[in-house]
C-alpha cells in the first residue's frame, strides 16, 4: 500500500465523517446566524431522523414490514431507503417548523442561556421519549441494497460504496442550500434579516415567514444527516448527543452563519479524525511505532482549540459577535 493511496483513503473517509458534521452544522449555523437561537436540541432532530428513517426504510422495504404482510414482498423493488430519504426531511421539516413556532419564538427575547437550557431540556425529553418508544437497545440501520458493498476505485482499491453516496448526497444538499441562500430572493431576505431584522420589516417584508422556513430547512438537514449517517453508526437514543458537540465545534471554527465556513470546518474535523484513526497504518512506513487511533476523538477538539486561539471568530466568520 503506497503512501498516496493511504492519503486518498484518509481523505475520502474524512470527507464522509465531515459530511455528517457539515449537514448538522449548516442547520445549526443558519439557525444561529439568522434567528440568533441556540439549538441544543439539534442532535435530537438528528436522532429523530435516524429513527424515522429506520422505521420508514424497514416498513417500505418490500421484503419486510407491513407491505410484506399485504403480499407485496415479491415485487423486488427495495426502495425503502429512498423512501426514507424523501419522507424523513419532510417529517423533520414539519417538526422544525413546529419547534420554531412553539419553542423558539417565545424565547427569542429571553437571554441565550435560557434558550440553551430550554433546548437542552427538550433534548433530554426527546432522547428519553425515543427510548420509551423504541427501546434503549442499539439497533442497526441496514445499508440500502443498491449501495452496499465495495467499489473499486483507482489508487484506493476497494472502498465502501455507501461512504461515497454520503459524500455525494451531502455535496448536493450543500450546493442546494448554498444556492438558496445566496442566489434567491428568499435567501436575500434571510441574509438581510441577519444584518438588520428591523430594517427588513420596515421595508414591508414579513420576516417571520422566512425565519420559519430557515428553521425548517435546518431541522430537515439534521434529519437527512440521521438517514445518510444511519448505516454508518449504531442507532440508539443517545447518539444525538455524541454528534451535537462536533457539530457545534464545526460551527464555531467555521465561523457563524457562514455555509462555506461550516463546510470548511466540517472537512477539517472529519479529515483530522480519519487521519488520526488511520495514521497508525502510515507511521510504520516512517519507522514510528505508536497507535494514534485513541487520539482521534481528542484530535478534533485539539484542532478546534488551536484554530480558536488563532482566530477566535472562526475561519470564515466576520469580526462581529452576536449577543
Amino acid at each position: 500500500m503506497s503512501l498516496l493511496s493511504e492519503a486518498v483513503r484518509i481523505l475520502l473517509n474524512g470527507l464522509q465523517t465531515g459530511a455528517i458534521y457539515v449537514l448538522l452544522a449548516i442547520g445549526l449555523s443558519i439557525i444561529l446566524g439568522t434567528l440568533k437561537f441556540v439549538n441544543f436540541a439539534h442532535g435530537a432532530l438528528y436522532v429523530v431522523g435516524l429513527y424515522v428513517g429506520l422505521l420508514v426504510s424497514q416498513e417500505t422495504t418490500f421484503s419486510q414490514g407491513q407491505l410484506a404482510e399485504f403480499g407485496f414482498g415479491t415485487l423486488g423493488l427495495d426502495l425503502g431507503f429512498l423512501a426514507a430519504l424523501i419522507v424523513v426531511p419532510l417529517v423533520v421539516f414539519v417538526l422544525g417548523i413546529a419547534m420554531e413556532r412553539f419553542v423558539a419564538r417565545p424565547f427569542y427575547d429571553r437571554p441565550d442561556t435560557d434558550q440553551i437550557l430550554l433546548t437542552f431540556g427538550l433534548a433530554i425529553v426527546a432522547q428519553q421519549a425515543l427510548r420509551v418508544l423504541f427501546g434503549g437497545n442499539s439497533q442497526s440501520f441496514a445499508q440500502p441494497e443498491w449501495a452496499s458493498g465495495a467499489v473499486e476505485l483507482p489508487l484506493v482499491g476497494g472502498f465502501p460504496q455507501w461512504r461515497l453516496w454520503v459524500i455525494a448526497i451531502t455535496g448536493l444538499l450543500v450546493v442546494l442550500v448554498y444556492a438558496l441562500i445566496e442566489f434567491t430572493d428568499f435567501g436575500l431576505t434571510v441574509r438581510a434579516g441577519t444584518q438588520d431584522a428591523e430594517m427588513v420589516q420596515l421595508l414591508g417584508i414579513r420576516i417571520t415567514r422566512p425565519y420559519i422556513v430557515v428553521f425548517g430547512i435546518g431541522a430537515a438537514l439534521a434529519g437527512v444527516a440521521g438517514v445518510v449517517g444511519g448505516p454508518l453508526t449504531v442507532v440508539n437514543p443517545t447518539v444525538g448527543t455524541d454528534v451535537l458537540v462536533p457539530a457545534f465545534l464545526t460551527v464555531v471554527i467555521g465561523g457563524l452563519g457562514s455555509i462555506r465556513g461550516a463546510v470548511l470546518g466540517g472537512l477539517i474535523l472529519g479529515i483530522t479524525q480519519s487521519f488520526l484513526i488511520q495514521w497508525s497504518l502510515v507511521i510504520p512506513a516512517l519507522g514510528i511505532d505508536y497507535a494514534f487511533a485513541p487520539w482521534s476523538q481528542v484530535g478534533i477538539y485539539a484542532i478546534a482549540a488551536v484554530i480558536l486561539l488563532v482566530r477566535p471568530q472562526g475561519l470564515l466568520g466576520s469580526e462581529v459577535e452576536i449577543s
Partner: protein, 429 residues
C-alpha cells in the same frame, strides 16, 4: 436561608390599597420584621446551614413517618450534600455571574480522578487527598477558563462543552493507563479521618442518631465550609462585581472593571468547588466512573441548579436533593413503580416546565408563594374584611384567566380549517 435580598416592603406595597392605610402591627408581623432584618447576616445563614445539615439525615433516614415517606438512606444523604456543593459552586457562575458552563464535568471529574489516583498511589488521608485534588483542579480551571472565555455568550457554553468532551475522550482512551478507561478508576482506598476515625463507622451517641456516619459528618462540614466561603465571596466587594457583570456586562466594563479577569475568577472559583465536590464524590463512593467526565454530568449539575433556583444558596441544594431523590428513590421503589423507568423523562419535562414558567427555579417560587401566604395571613389577622375581598378578587381573576385561556384555545381550533384553506388556495399573506 437565601442570602439574596428580597425587598420586604414589596409584598406589603402590593396589596396596600386594599388594606386602606391600616398599618397596624400584629405579633406575627413583628417577628417577621425582625426575621427580615437578621436573615441577611452571614452568621445567621451559616448557623442555619449547620442546623440544616445536622437535621437533614435524621429526617431523610431515621425520623418516624417523614423518612418512611421519603425512603431515604444514609449514603443518599451524603451524596446529596456532595452534589449540593457542586451545585452551589456552579451557581457562583450561572446564578451570580450569568455564565452558563456546560463543561463542569471536566472539573468535577478531574477532582474525582485526582482524588482516586492519589488514594491509590500516594496518600490515604481524606484531608490530604481533597487538598491536593483541589489544587490540581484550580490549575485545570485556569486553563479551561482562559480558553473558553475567549468568546462570550453562547460560545462560552459551547466551548466549555467542547473542552470538557476533549478531556473525557482523553481519559477514555489515550490516558486509560492512568484513568482505567471505560472501567473507571478502581483501587480507590480512603484512609481514616485524621488517622483515627473510620469514615464508614457511626458517630457516638446522639450525634450518631442525627448524622449517622463519620463520612456524612465530614461531607457536611465540607458543605458548611463551602457555603461560608461562597457567602463571604459574594458579600465582599469582589463578589458584587460578579453581580454587576450578570446585570450588565458592558456597563461593568465601562465602569472600569476588567470584566474578563472577573469572569475568569468566577470560573476558577466555581471550578474549585466542582473539583472539591468531585474529590468528595470519590471519598464517598470509593470509585470513579468514566461517566463522571461525560457531558451528561455537566447537564446534571445544570439541571439541579436551574431546577432548584439560581442565585440562591438553598436553591441549588434543593435542586440536588430533588434530582438525586428522583434518581435513586422514585426510579426504584414501591409507590412510584409507574414512573420507574421513565424517571429521566419526567425530570426532563419538569425541567422544561421550570425553564419556561419559573425561570428562577422552584425555591424562588416557594419563596414567593410563602411571602404571599404570609402577607395574606397577616392581612387576615388585621382586617378580615379586606382579606375576604382580596380572596374574592383573586378567585375572580383566576376564573377569568381560565375562561380566556379556554376561549383562546377554542378560537384557534375553530380557525384551523379556515387557515388551512387559505394556505391551500395560496391566498396566504
Amino acid at each position: 436561608m437565601s442570602d439574596e435580598g428580597v425587598n420586604p416592603t414589596e409584598a406589603e406595597a402590593d396589596g396596600g390599597e386594599t388594606v386602606g392605610g391600616a398599618t397596624g402591627t400584629t405579633p406575627l408581623s413583628g417577628v417577621r420584621a425582625r426575621w427580615e432584618r437578621i436573615r441577611e447576616r452571614e452568621s445567621v445563614v451559616i448557623a442555619l446551614t449547620i442546623v440544616g445539615v445536622a437535621l437533614f439525615p435524621y429526617f431523610l433516614v431515621r425520623a418516624p413517618v417523614i423518612s418512611e415517606l421519603l425512603q431515604g438512606y444514609q449514603e443518599l444523604a451524603s451524596l446529596i450534600l456532595v452534589w449540593g456543593i457542586f451545585a452551589i459552586g456552579f451557581d457562583l457562575l450561572l446564578g451570580r455571574t450569568g455564565l452558563l458552563s456546560f463543561g463542569h464535568a471536566a472539573l468535577w471529574g478531574a477532582g474525582a480522578y485526582a482524588a482516586g489516583w492519589l488514594s491509590a498511589n500516594v496518600v490515604q488521608s481524606p484531608l490530604a487527598i481533597v487538598a491536593i485534588a483541589v489544587l490540581f483542579v484550580v490549575a485545570l480551571s485556569v486553563v479551561l477558563g482562559a480558553l473558553s472565555l475567549r468568546r462570550g455568550g453562547i460560545y462560552f457554553a459551547i466551548l466549555t462543552l467542547a473542552f470538557a468532551q476533549m478531556i473525557y475522550y482523553m481519559a477514555s482512551a489515550p490516558l486509560a493507563f492512568i484513568t482505567g478507561g471505560d472501567n473507571g478508576l478502581t483501587g480507590v482506598e480512603i484512609g481514616p479521618l485524621l488517622g483515627s476515625f473510620d469514615l464508614g463507622s457511626e458517630l457516638p451517641s446522639i450525634a450518631g442518631t442525627l448524622l449517622g456516619t463519620w463520612r456524612y459528618a465530614f461531607i457536611a462540614a465540607a458543605l458548611v465550609v463551602s457555603a461560608a466561603i461562597i457567602l463571604r465571596i459574594l458579600n465582599s466587594p469582589y463578589g458584587i462585581v460578579f453581580r454587576a457583570i450578570r446585570e450588565n456586562e458592558r456597563r461593568a466594563e465601562f465602569v472600569g472593571f476588567n470584566v474578563w479577569r472577573y469572569k475568569l475568577a468566577a470560573f476558577v472559583l466555581s471550578g474549585t468547588f466542582a473539583g472539591f465536590a468531585g474529590a468528595l464524590f470519590t471519598i464517598h463512593g470509593e470509585y470513579v466512573p468514566l461517566s463522571s467526565l461525560y457531558w451528561t454530568t455537566s447537564g446534571e449539575v445544570v439541571i439541579m441548579t436551574v431546577l432548584g433556583g439560581v442565585g440562591t444558596l438553598l436553591g441549588p441544594l434543593l435542586g440536588a436533593g430533588i434530582y438525586l431523590w428522583v434518581e435513586y428513590i422514585v426510579s426504584g421503589g414501591y409507590p412510584f413503580d409507574w414512573i420507574g423507568p421513565y424517571w429521566h423523562l419526567v425530570l426532563g419535562l419538569v425541567f422544561v416546565v421550570v425553564v419556561v414558567l419559573l425561570p428562577d427555579g422552584i425555591w424562588n417560587g416557594i419563596k414567593r408563594l410563602l411571602r404571599d401566604v404570609f402577607w395574606f395571613v397577616s392581612l387576615a389577622t388585621r382586617d378580615p374584611e379586606a382579606a375576604k375581598d382580596h380572596a374574592v378578587q383573586k378567585a375572580k381573576a383566576a376564573i377569568a384567566w381560565i375562561v380566556s385561556l379556554a376561549t383562546g384555545i377554542v378560537e384557534r381550533v375553530i380557525a384551523v380549517p379556515r387557515r388551512l384553506a387559505a394556505l391551500v388556495s395560496g391566498g396566504g399573506r
